[in-house]
Structures are given as C-alpha cells and as structure tokens.
C-alpha cells in the first residue's frame, strides 16, 4: 500500500474511532473503476430483463441476464451470512 493510503487510513480510523463523524471514506481509484463497470453491467442486465433486446444475448446466457427469473439463489438461507463457517 502506498504511504499516502496508510496516512489516509490512520486519519480515517482516528476520526471514526473517536466518534467524530468523518464525511466520507476516500475511495481508492480502483474501486471507482470497478463500481463504474458494475453500474454499466447492471444497466445492461436490466435492459435485457425489461425486454430491450437491442443486445442479443446468447440463449445459453439469457438466464444469467434475466436474473430475477433465474436459478434459486433465494434458497440459500441468509446467503449473505454463509461466507465461511459452514465449512468443514
């Protein structure tokens, strides 16, 4: 990690832990890029799900795009909590 990020981290941590609200956490540049990519894909997924076929999605992947109707991830109980302990 670059020294400037360590400095930012110390500053953010200090403010947060002392209970003095810091306005926001500085985003690493690579996070902004990643989030921009996700927003673009999210838009494409919704276009397809809403019937906008301007993008011709291969049949095999249609289910991936049409995510509200796809698969059964809802069946994973508390899926966000299942990270790493049901594991052995």
């Amino acid at each position: 990690m670059k020294p400037i990020r360590w400095l930012a981290l110390l500053l953010i941590g200090g403010l947060g832990l002392s209970g003095q609200a810091s306005a926001s956490v500085e985003k690493p540049a690579d996070r902004e890029a990643l989030e921009a990519r996700v927003l673009d894909v999210r838009k494409a997924m919704r276009d397809v799900a809403s019937g906008d076929q301007s993008n011709e999605v291969p049949d095999q992947l249609a289910q991936w795009y049409n995510w509200p109707n796809w698969g059964n991830w809802n069946n994973w109980p508390n899926w966000r909590n299942w990270g790493n302990w049901f594991n052995r």
Partner: protein, 423 residues
C-alpha cells in the same frame, strides 16, 4: 494455548502496543441492529476427523441443554434483537450426533419463546454420515433445511474427510445423500476446496451433477483455528482457473449446477448492496462486522458475535472471544465487557482498513474478521486469501463474463469495456 496462537498473540500485541477499544451503543446504528442468524452449537463433538478442521474441542461429548437453547432465544427477545425473520443454524461439531428427540424438544421450545415475535426457520449443516429414515422424518417434521458437507468425488473427499479410525467417509456420505433423495428432501452441498481440487474442476462439477446436487458452496481451504495453513495459499493462479471453469460449467448446465460464490457475485452485480449507517457514516452490510447480526451460542451457553468461528478460539487478549453466557447475562449487556470493546474496536478498524484500500469494499463491507486474525494476525487488518478466493476472484470472473457477453451482441465489439456506450 498452542505455540501458534502464542506467536499470533505476541505478534498482535507487539504491533499494536496500545489496543484501542470502542464504545458500543445500539443508537449508533441505523437501521436498528437485528440478529439474522443464531448459531447454536448443541455439542462440540464430531464423529469424524477431517484434517482441515478448525474446531478446538471436537473430542468433547458435552451437550447443550434445553434450558440453554431456551435462554438463547429469550435473550434475543429481551434485547429486542429479533427482526421479521431469524434463521437458527445447528452447527459446530456434528449436529446429528445429538439424539433426534433433542431437536424435537428444542425446536418447539424456541418457537414458544421467539415464535410470537418473528418467523423462525432452522438449518442443519451435516457430514451426512448418520442420516437415516428417522432423521429424514425429523427434517420433514420441522421443515429443516439441510446442507451436506461433501468435497466432490471420493478421490478428493477421502483425502481429508476421515473416520476417527482414519478411513474415508465418502461412501457413507453418498448413502446419506441417497437417503435424503429417497425422502424427497432437498439439500445443498458445501465443499471444502483444497489444493488438489483446483486441478480437477470438471470431476468436481461432474460429481455434483451426477448426484443431483444443484447448489454447491465452495469453501476454499482456510487457515483458521487449529488448521494453521491453507493448502491453496500459494496456488492463486490455479484458483483463478478453477473459478473460470466453474463459471463455464455453471452456465453450460442451464441451472442444474449453481455455485454459491458465483451466484453471490451475480447478485452483487445485479442489485445494489444493502447498507447501514454507523455514527452517521454509511457502510455496506456485512453480517460478520456488525455487532450481534450473528450470534453464536456454545453448548454451555457461552456466546460470541462477529465471525462464528471465533467463539472459544484460544486468545489471551480477547478472552477466547467469549462475551458472556446466556445463563448469566443478555447479549447486549456483554457489550460493556472489556473484551467486547477491544474486539469491536479492532474489527471496526479492520473495516476502515478495507474501506481505504480495497476495490471490492462496496460489494463486501469489510471481509471476515476470523480470517484477518488467522491470516494476518490482526483483526484490524485488510485483505486476506479468503477475500480473494471467496469474493474477489469470483466477482471479477462473473463481471468479466457478463461484460464479454453483453459486448458479443454488438458488431465489432469483443470486450466488455464497450458496454458503457451501449444504447
């Protein structure tokens, strides 16, 4: 305390000469904290002996009493921690070494205490070696969701999952899975993926397809507790190829084979992640970093929160992560204890570390504290192997695949980077 944990303790206390604790106030959180998952450990005992197990007391045959189970539920009610729904997971040790009538009694006890306040559902994660008709009847009677721990074909599974006499358990697991199918009980699988599995992605997928298992969670071998080193620690390129292959096989299967990590990634890409505010600042939700979102209760009533694996793990500076006992105090009351403040302070600093350094923070919210401790020696640290194997690499693979596919419909476009200019 083992030598390894003594070294970790020394390392932690040396690098942080003045550990900072953090005051806890439920009023700092918005929306209100609600417990989503109650993990009850009815016994530490396990009837098999996997070589990668992290549990410290799996030879102990101690058992939870009904009163302990009742108090665990009652404390949630009294503390106002129940939301609309709660999942109770019976876990740690092998839950089926308990007699079936324990659950026949404990589940109604919990329903009596918590049922008027929220919808309660039950899950069991089992090694499946003890499943018989009587257990299946019980699963149906209480609508218990079942997860089977199986690592794929026998050549992979039997390398690590042994009986106490040292023999492979695969045949017994297959029999348990067959019994579940005979009773029309749906189940998913959780597989520990070790180094040798990475080179056999297709055999891994073929096994689950052949056995009618449609939902598989991959838990990539982790260094935790008494499992001191992950077998995949130096095999990250192999892990990337494994993930790519699982993704292709999952897509090819047209819904017959789903992997939890890939589904999670797809969901995170498709939908904005839920968030919460703490002291006015917004964080992505991560149940392992929010106090009391998960609560683990041991057979004797000892309890903890944050990463469930932490409960009872040897730690001088964190008091073995035991925050209290349901026979003596409520959950929120434990927040006044010194070790709670130190744990919570370190975990929140770890979340800040992730926020300041990780590209995937917005899709994760701060990683897994237990892995930070065991991999980096510090709850306040950032990225771990766990982050890369369980979240980041599956996320990146799914995102790239979606970008690529979106671009395929556009003449002359071959990469996902063009997706941003689509109409």
């Amino acid at each position: 305390m083992s030598i390894a944990s003594a070294i970790r303790w020394f390392s932690r206390t040396s690098s942080h000469a003045e550990p900072r604790d953090l005051d806890f106030d439920v009023g700092d959180f918005s929306p209100d904290i609600k417990t989503r998952l109650l993990i009850l450990q009815p016994t530490p005992f396990c009837n098999i002996r996997c070589d990668y197990c992290y549990l410290p007391d799996r030879d102990s045959t101690a058992r939870m009493t009904l009163e302990t189970a009742r108090l665990a539920g009652k404390r949630l009610v009294d503390d106002g921690l129940l939301g609309d729904e709660l999942t109770v997971v019976w876990h740690a040790g092998e839950p089926l070494v308990m007699p079936p009538n324990f659950y026949d009694e404990a589940i109604p006890v919990l329903a009596e205490v918590m049922g008027p306040h929220c919808k309660v559902s039950h899950s069991i994660q089992t090694n499946a070696t003890l499943i018989d008709d009587a257990w299946c009847d019980l699963f149906k009677r209480h609508a218990i969701r079942i997860g089977v721990s199986v690592d794929g074909p026998a050549t992979l599974h039997d390398r690590h999952r042994h009986t106490r006499a040292g023999r492979g358990t695969h045949q017994r697991v297959l029999h348990g899975m067959e019994t579940l199918r005979e009773h029309d009980i749906p189940f998913h699988a959780i597989a520990v993926v070790s180094a040798e599995t990475l080179a056999h992605a297709d055999a891994f997928c073929d096994f689950f397809l052949a056995n009618g298992v449609h939902e598989v969670g991959c838990n990539f071998d982790e260094a935790e507790g008494s499992n001191l080193r992950s077998s995949i620690a130096d095999k990250e390129q192999s892990h990337a190829r494994f993930i790519d292959r699982l993704l292709e096989r999952s897509i090819e299967s047209e819904g017959k084979l789903c992997f939890r990590e890939l589904d999670m990634a797809r969901h995170l890409i498709a939908e904005p992640m839920a968030s919460y505010r703490w002291r006015g600042r917004e964080f992505p939700e991560n149940a392992q970093t929010i106090p009391f979102a998960l609560i683990s209760v041991a057979h004797n009533g000892d309890f903890s929160t944050f990463s469930p694996e932490l409960l009872g793990q040897p730690s001088l500076d964190y008091g073995n992560f035991i925050l209290g006992n349901v026979h003596q105090s409520g959950f929120l009351e434990s927040a006044g204890r010194a070790n709670f403040g130190e744990i919570w302070g370190a975990i929140q600093r770890g979340t800040e570390t992730c926020a300041a350094s990780c590209a995937h923070f917005g899709f994760c919210g701060g990683g897994a504290p237990a892995n930070k401790l065991y991999e980096n020696g510090d709850l306040a640290s950032g990225e771990t192997l766990y982050c890369r194997t369980m979240l980041k690499r599956p996320f990146d693979a799914v995102l790239a695949r979606l970008e690529q596919t979106a671009a395929q419909g556009k003449p002359g476009q071959t990469t996902g980077v063009q997706i941003g200019v689509m109409p």
